[in-house]
Amino acid sequence: MQQVIRICSKEFKDYFISPIAYIVISIFLLVTGWFFFTTFFYYNQADLRNFFNLLPITFSFMIPAVTMRLFSEELNVGSYEMLLTLPVTFKDILVGKFLAGVLFVAAALVPTFAYPIFIAFMGQLEWGPVAGGYLGALLLGASFVAVGLFASSLTRNQIIAFIVGMAICFTLTLIDKMLFFFPRSLLGVVGYLGADFHFQNIARGIIDSRDIVYFLSVVFIGLYGTHIVMQEKN
């Protein structure tokens, strides 16, 4: 466990030593802030629904950009060999990197607390959906980090890792909007696969075990896939 914490804190610090964290977080805040507040006054409603509506799409771009380096860079530089021959197991590395990614997502979400605080001054804000929204955002972020980690383990090239990760996250986000492409018999299954569908449930303030199970399954599948890919490499 200690090894996991050491690897996680190293990876997390790495983001803030390099410009990645500052660039990604400021673009994230700019995009979400802009889209949220341009329509906020128009609706004249004291809630964060628009902010959370947009989050899955923004995350599909942002998270693969954050996770693309986690394995690709190590494989490219060769430092993975040095890391793996230290007294750590592959699981330590995997979980450490995953948690670093999740922590980064959390760090990017922290500044957005300004929105609900700001809105609470202006009107009667219901805190339940806000708390649910942030919990959902963290779960959604965690599953996209797992997907991004998987994409990163596939290749030494960070750009390919980014595009593959983004493609998978994007598909997960939009698949329940594309239901008219699928035969009637598959509708239930495909609809259930949509990350956006589950996220919006939680963001409405309804904590349903099905949604939580969905996100935890995506995390597990992503991490397990990474495990298989990396094991195959050796």
Partner: protein, 312 residues
């Protein structure tokens, strides 16, 4: 200390390491020698647990590689070829990170890093980013990485490649120093390195062991035949050949260079275990040739290496 049996590694259909078996004793410096692509790095990677062998067993002390990988990793310090370190980290941060993963506690960490800084000469680069370092400096940081918790076994993959002669001498000095108490395995294709540092040599070629012996024994075996190298002025190869062939014990004469106005360079191959320098000198003294270079060469490790690894 380390026991390797029938170790084999296939990359798809390509056999990189083919049924290698050898033992390494405690306190030995073993040189793994071979041409490029012979399977040195693959062997070391399997030994450190980075690659899984296709078949065969590795045991270190009482541990089996398959079952106790983590225990074995704790005993080993490994420096991969060309020291692939994290680019964006400071040297100090990197060493601190490695010390943490190696399980050193806070007080021990600082004192150990200090020792390594002195040993590897990292004093002036501790607060520089790794990506700024030259290859030699990186190699030294890598060496500090490998020696972090004073491992019982040190595995170095081409530790001196890309270094300047001073750095090579320094690193060899460090290796010899460590080798007094620890077990060291180093791979290289530089022969003088093995001669300078190793107790025992394993030569591999195309994934197979072609020689495995103590340094002295290999040298003895090599020293059985030698050459006399001569540079002579005012002589033709024909004359020299006739004259020296007459000496008992000369096996062959080979012309190296002959220029119209320059010296004639020849190499006289001698029968094993005979010193013909005296007779060659007397034979040349009878003529009016001018002898400007005269020395005997013993077959070195280089020759053995070439003989063992050359294609037929």
């Amino acid at each position: 200390m380390i026991h390797i049996e029938n170790l084999t590694k296939y990359y798809n259909d390509f056999c990189a390491v083919d049924q290698i078996s050898f033992d390494i004793k405690k306190g030995e410096i073993l040189g793994l020698l071979g041409p490029n692509g012979a399977g040195k790095t693959t062997t070391l990677r399997m030994l450190t647990g980075y690659f899984m062998p296709t078949s065969g067993t590795i045991s270190v002390k009482d541990y089996q590689l398959d079952d106790n990988l983590l225990e074995i990793k704790k005993l080993m310090g490994y420096l991969p070829e060309s020291a692939p370190l994290y680019h964006s980290m400071l040297v100090y941060d990197y060493l601190d990170y490695v010390a943490g993963l190696r399980g050193l506690d806070k007080n021990k960490k600082i004192s150990r890093i200090r020792q390594l800084v002195d040993l590897c000469g990292l004093d002036e680069i501790m607060h520089r980013t790794i990506s700024e370092l030259s290859k030699g400096l990186k190699q030294r940081v890598g060496l500090a990485h490998a020696m972090m918790d004073d491992p019982e076994i040190l595995i170095l993959d081409e530790p001196t490649s890309g270094l300047d002669p001073n750095q090579i001498a320094e690193i060899r000095e460090i290796i010899r120093h460590i080798g007094e108490e620890k077990t060291v395995i180093l791979s290289t294709h530089i022969l003088s390195e093995v001669e300078a540092t190793c107790d025992r040599v394993v030569i591999i070629d195309k994934g197979k062991i072609v020689a495995n012996d103590r340094m002295e024994i290999l040298k003895q075996f090599a020293g059985q035949s030698h050459f006399i190298h001569l540079d002579i002025l005012r002589a033709t190869f024909q004359d020299v050949n006739d004259k020296l062939r007459a000496i008992d014990g000369v096996v062959g004469i080979e012309k190296i260079i002959e220029k119209p106005n320059g010296p004639l360079s020849v190499q006289v191959a001698c029968k094993s275990a005979s010193d013909l320098r005296e007779s060659v000198y007397h034979a040349i003294k009878q003529t009016d040739w001018v002898l400007i270079e005269f020395h005997q060469e013993t077959k070195t490790l280089e020759t053995i290496f070439r003989e063992l690894t050359e294609e037929d």
